[in-house]
Point group: D5
Chain length 95, copies 10
């Protein structure tokens, strides 16, 4: 099943640049892993913001929760999850 996930990252200004760099690097590794597994279908940057919009494909809502909690930047993320389903007007064979 598909979920639309809007993530805004808000890192407190007294976290050191080293720490941010380290977390971002681990975040990219984890994101790559989830994309290769087929869970993280789409990942786009929102222009002008430290924010992204993603589409996740998971077996259950619980799996999505585990995935989001496993992200290294998760403690600094504001996450909005929206459940999606097939649109009657969509021509896509798979969503």
């Amino acid at each position: 099943m598909l979920f639309h996930v809007a993530i805004t990252v808000r890192i407190p200004h007294d976290v050191t640049p080293e720490r941010i760099k380290q977390l971002s690097s681990r975040e990219h590794e984890r994101a790559a892993e989830l994309q290769r597994q087929g869970n993280w279908l789409h990942l786009w940057r929102v222009v002008g913001k430290f924010a992204n919009i993603s589409i996740f494909e998971v077996e259950t809502p619980a799996e999505l929760h585990e995935i989001l909690e496993s992200l290294p930047l998760h403690p600094y993320m504001e996450v909005e999850v929206t459940a999606l389903c097939r649109h009657p007007g969509s021509l896509a064979e798979v969503d």
Copy 2:
């Protein structure tokens, strides 16, 4: 370029069911056409709402505006457009 478009449809309750049916049918035709042209990349229904989330690929913002204005249900749509760009963590070859 890619745009995230969130559309909520609010049809006033005194529009006749025939009119809604007619507009919805024309909306599906136009949506199919735009998907086949490659402009309407993704189209998902938001669960529980008369709303959808879409990704459009267009040459210019003006093209997106023309496309959205050409939708038969457009007079009843609330539209939120968000400009997207490639995310540094995305593995996709094309977005």
Copy 3:
């Protein structure tokens, strides 16, 4: 899987009382059916409002969408869907 669904009903004031009565009666029948099927696990009235809070159990998000669209009062409903999952602190054997 479980979804939290908050529904507010807003009936335009020029809908006739007969029509409201008819729709409400059909709404109760459909709600009873969905409760007996095990899809509508919990249904509570919000005190002071024409609104309710419900827990639905469905196989897929798409099933939830179909159920909500099948409600006779659906055209007058504002619906907010929230995906739930098991809480690590919950003692419930089933949620």
Copy 4:
């Protein structure tokens, strides 16, 4: 009587991981106790967030307030309480 309680936990980022672990562990113990007593009827995690949705059964609003204040993570919680009552369409023998 029943209350719907939506809780979002916001732990300031300079609270140490040890302190969070300690509070979370005590929170789970207290939650278990309240579930066994029959006050905390339902407890679900909101997908993607450090937030939960619960149904409490109490004798009085004051009892609910005491219960919520007794939670170890309470100082970091944003709490929204909604009074519920039986829905005329509900088939449940007990809510």
Copy 5:
């Protein structure tokens, strides 16, 4: 138990003045009845608005819901209910 109830009345402009007068008159009668019964403890007008703030005393949340639904202007009311309890700093013998 006590509930704080904030009511805003929004009468659509095409309701006739006769109808409004009739409903307002019946509203005052019902309000008087509920005050004499001891359910409607306090009733104040919000300055500048067609709105009031009230304190209700009821046996159960369900009783409050029935009372609010029994108000003749109820179809045009926006109602916000807040559960109250005794404040530790209050000197009142009864609230």
Copy 6:
């Protein structure tokens, strides 16, 4: 004249528990004094929150401002003041 005052207390998490205890104790003393003087007519706790709803009776708006500024927890309070007047449907001899 009467004012409805909604107060939410937000104490920053790095204020020490001793300081909070001290301020709360002084707050209760001052609240008792103002209740005995007849300025603080009603004081209720909002269930689940560090918040209260109060009715103040004062000679002038300026007197209300002085009273609110004199509260020991005032630096941590979010205060919303609403001017009240007699409701035409109220049976109360005094409000």
Copy 7:
């Protein structure tokens, strides 16, 4: 005592221009009367909107409510009242 009053006028589009003209003319007469009486101290138009910001001087909040209710356009007004008091930094002999 002084109150800041922000008024936005929203006239439904099916009120006839004659009716609006008539109400506006009566509104100006009433506003002039209240200014001459010394109740309506200041009256400014908000640029670009059918809205104004005013300062009223009245004996009691109830007097302000009566004044606002007496305005011919009152049924179409959204009114926000804010209680004011003397600012310690103000040099004005009278406010």
Copy 8:
């Protein structure tokens, strides 16, 4: 002086297409006139909406109000005005 003006047009759905066409045509004429006079410096369409963002240059706030009120679609416009001034970092000789 410069003002940023954000305009959203909301035409009620029972205004006839002929009327909308007529008003839009007159709106374009008036907009052209104001651009030629040098009052309407910039005019952009917001993608996906019946909305625009403009920069006006006027002698006084009152002149801006008169200009906005003179627009044929003004009765259906939501207008937000923001006062601008020269930015210390701007290289423009004229703004």
Copy 9:
């Protein structure tokens, strides 16, 4: 020209009382100066808040910006500026 300025002061709780006292004292001096110059026409305290509502008279929007930036408490202020103009119903000879 006239501007309505709504200012809320939010001083972080770890600024020392001495610093606040010093800034407030300098704020009052600067406010007095601006009132004597005729720029700060009206200054009122909002009851219950560390906030004020003011009317400024300036030659240009830029002059208003400079004035607001010159206030000693400016770094802690949230400022909302609204452009005003003469109301057709105002009897004031000068606004």
Copy 10:
């Protein structure tokens, strides 16, 4: 293509004045460079706020994102991007 960018700067109060001065100076240099390159078409200060409204011209949304991320004050900016297109009523030869 054109984008409307609204930027609010919020510098935490414990950043030193030296640091702010340094960042602001580098911000002005970068802004000058982007204006000379023709990317930053318009830049206005919002009166009364540490905020600006700008129009950017870029080849792609990604270019806009890179530009905004390159601003020295970017970590303290709240950025809202709105895609613009030519307005049918605009007389401008170039926007």
